[in-house]
């Protein structure tokens, strides 16, 4: 198959462009969107490429509709994606919840900007962390990935599709205006070298009778997509294994919701990705994610040069969250710093994970500027 962009080599592109290309290489053939800064370039790239690869790119009337359309497309068998920023992400929460409840594989990109409300449209932020995890109502789980470079935005987009398909769940790629608009070198592999996952389909009509049943013991039901004669009924109401509404049965509700959560929690090892730098013998840990992790790496190097044993944990997945790993780090170090471009979000997760075994301090920054390495270094040195 021919692609409308270079493959098997490096290119100098924006984060938004990288996400669009990666989505197409991941097999995405349905994109629905609504213009919004700083995510519009994803849509514009999709609009350019999709018709050429026999995919769909459509501009919907709002983000509610974009989210709805990709879920519909997914049930019709397509890998589907939408992208937005904070204000649009707020509108998507309704149907993001529907995707969780109906176990629909979709990818949602949230390019964060300063908020709340219209806020700072062109400036980066990390204020949507809690929203990406808990923005929709009810008990639930989903997957949230956080790239720190344009290459990672590319790689994690492919991973987002693979995880969505593997676990039949929505996946949020949580990035920000800085990465979205930054140009960096991105290596695009040859398509045949990219490992792709496609959702498990029912092996036969009998299996298709249980679109929400743990029939394989892995908590992930095969997905009987539309138009194959399975006669699948999908509802956002609490439903039993066959998909029949059972709205006042406590047991059915608990069984469904616990499985939706457990299918991710029990597969944490596969889903959670992270990187460490100089963490093995560290006495001070910095825990960071997204664009800020780049300053944090620099800060760790400088602190080491000055004889301070600092180390970094860079989170590439922020949900599900590995609380146990944080506790392990807290047992090892004296202090944990969490620099983030908000007034404390992952900080609270880290504090919960640390479980009182180390002091956890937030290094917040809002207003649209990224932490400089010095912001982190100075704060760490003050505590030493």
């Amino acid at each position: 198959m021919k692609y409308p962009f270079p493959v098997g080599r490096s290119d100098f592109i924006q984060g938004d462009e990288a996400i669009a290309r990666a989505a197409i290489l991941a097999g995405c053939r349905f994109y629905a969107g609504y213009p919004i800064t700083p995510a519009s370039e994803i849509f514009e790239a999709m609009a350019l490429y999709m018709p050429l690869v026999d995919g769909v790119s459509i501009q919907m009337e709002d983000e509610l509709a974009s989210m709805a359309a990709i879920i519909g497309a997914s049930w019709a068998g397509a890998k589907a994606m939408t992208a937005t920023s904070g204000p649009g992400f707020s509108l998507m929460q309704e149907n993001l919840g529907y995707a969780i409840m109906t176990e629909t594989p979709v990818v949602v990109v949230d390019v964060q900007r300063g908020g709340p409300s219209t806020g700072q449209p062109t400036l980066g932020a990390q204020g949507d962390v809690m929203q990406s995890i808990w923005g929709t109502h009810g008990d639930h789980s989903l997957i949230v990935l956080t790239p720190a470079t344009v290459q990672e935005a590319f790689d994690m987009t492919i991973r987002a599709f693979n995880l969505a398909e593997k676990y039949r769940t929505p996946v949020v790629l949580l990035t920000d205006a800085e990465i979205a608009h930054m140009r960096e070198r991105v290596y695009t592999p040859n398509p045949e070298d990219i490992e792709l996952v496609y959702r498990k389909l029912p092996a036969n009509k009998e299996e298709a009778q249980y679109p929400f049943g743990n029939i394989h013991g892995d908590m992930i039901p095969p997905m009987p997509i539309f138009g194959k004669g399975y006669r699948t009924y999908v509802t956002g109401l609490t439903h039993d294994e066959k998909g029949r509404p059972k709205t006042v049965d406590a047991e059915v509700h608990e069984r469904l919701i616990r499985r939706i959560i457990d299918k991710l929690e029990k597969n944490k090892e596969d889903i959670i990705a992270y990187e460490t730098f100089d963490l093995d013998d560290a006495e001070i840990a910095i825990i960071s994610y997204g664009i800020v992790a780049r300053s944090a790496i620099r800060a760790v190097k400088r602190l080491r040069e000055e004889g301070i044993k600092a180390g970094l944990l860079k989170l590439n997945t922020i949900w599900p969250f590995d609380f146990e790993m944080i506790e392990g780090i807290a047992e090892q170090v004296n202090r944990i710093y969490v620099p983030e471009m908000n007034l404390g979000q992952v900080y609270h997760l880290v504090k919960e994970g640390a479980n009182g075994k180390a002091e956890v301090e937030l290094i917040p920054k809002i207003g649209g500027e990224i932490h400089t390495p010095m912001d982190i270094i100075e704060r760490v040195k003050r505590g030493v």
Partner: protein
Amino acid sequence: MYLKCAYEIREKYLRKDMLPTIFCPGCGIGSALQYTLRAIDDLGLNPDEIVWVSGIGCSSRVPGFVNFDGLHTTHGRALAFATGIKLANPDLKVIAFMGDGDTAAIGGNHFIHAIRRNLDITVILINNFTYGMTGGQVAPTTLKGLRGTTAPYGQFENPFDIAELAVAAGANYVARWSVFNYLQGINSIKKALQKEGFTLVEFLSPCPISFGRRNRMKTAPELLRWYQKITVPLSKAKKMPPEELEGKIVIGEFVDRDRPGLAREYEEYKKRAKKMMGWEG
């Protein structure tokens, strides 16, 4: 027209394990559903190639009762979900079962934009002038002066004429009947199902429990008689002065045209894109 007995239709198309339905005594949704299933049956359509979508409300529970692929979605959003289904697999025929609140209030924007795009879909609209499921609140279709729990002294807002709205937004086919007009209803659904683009068949449908009781029409027959009184056939309405049409509802076939549907337009768009880019694929 030969009509199969209702039992035969029920046996062939309903999910027995989902019965009984949630519908109250005297509800008109079952009638509209029966007309739709009769139309599908008469046309000999393959149920495996049909997807039913809906939003939230009494009528939106219909996809659960019929033995087809079905997506019961969020309030007002059925047509947005349907856009994804149809474009991702244009071979599927999509039917939406929607209520008046679902369509014209919370889903109003999706409704007009789906029509503007000429999304290939047949919408069966149950207009009972009320929010039945939540207990009889007024809807954007409630006629002035009629009562609901959120306008207990009589509706003071103007109603939407959904059929006229659909015509103005560009639908390919729009008809409105009361569920009393069963032959016209079935024929309109058959027409709608055979056309590309956006097609709408609206049914005035009795809701004696949530709506009728509050408006001195406690039973379905009373509501049907009221429909007979307030409805005017389109041909007759055309000759009537506007003041005489005040408080009346026009029924009939509002439009029947053949503009290209969204799925075909997108196929053409893809061809254009490839041609413009010199793209062989």
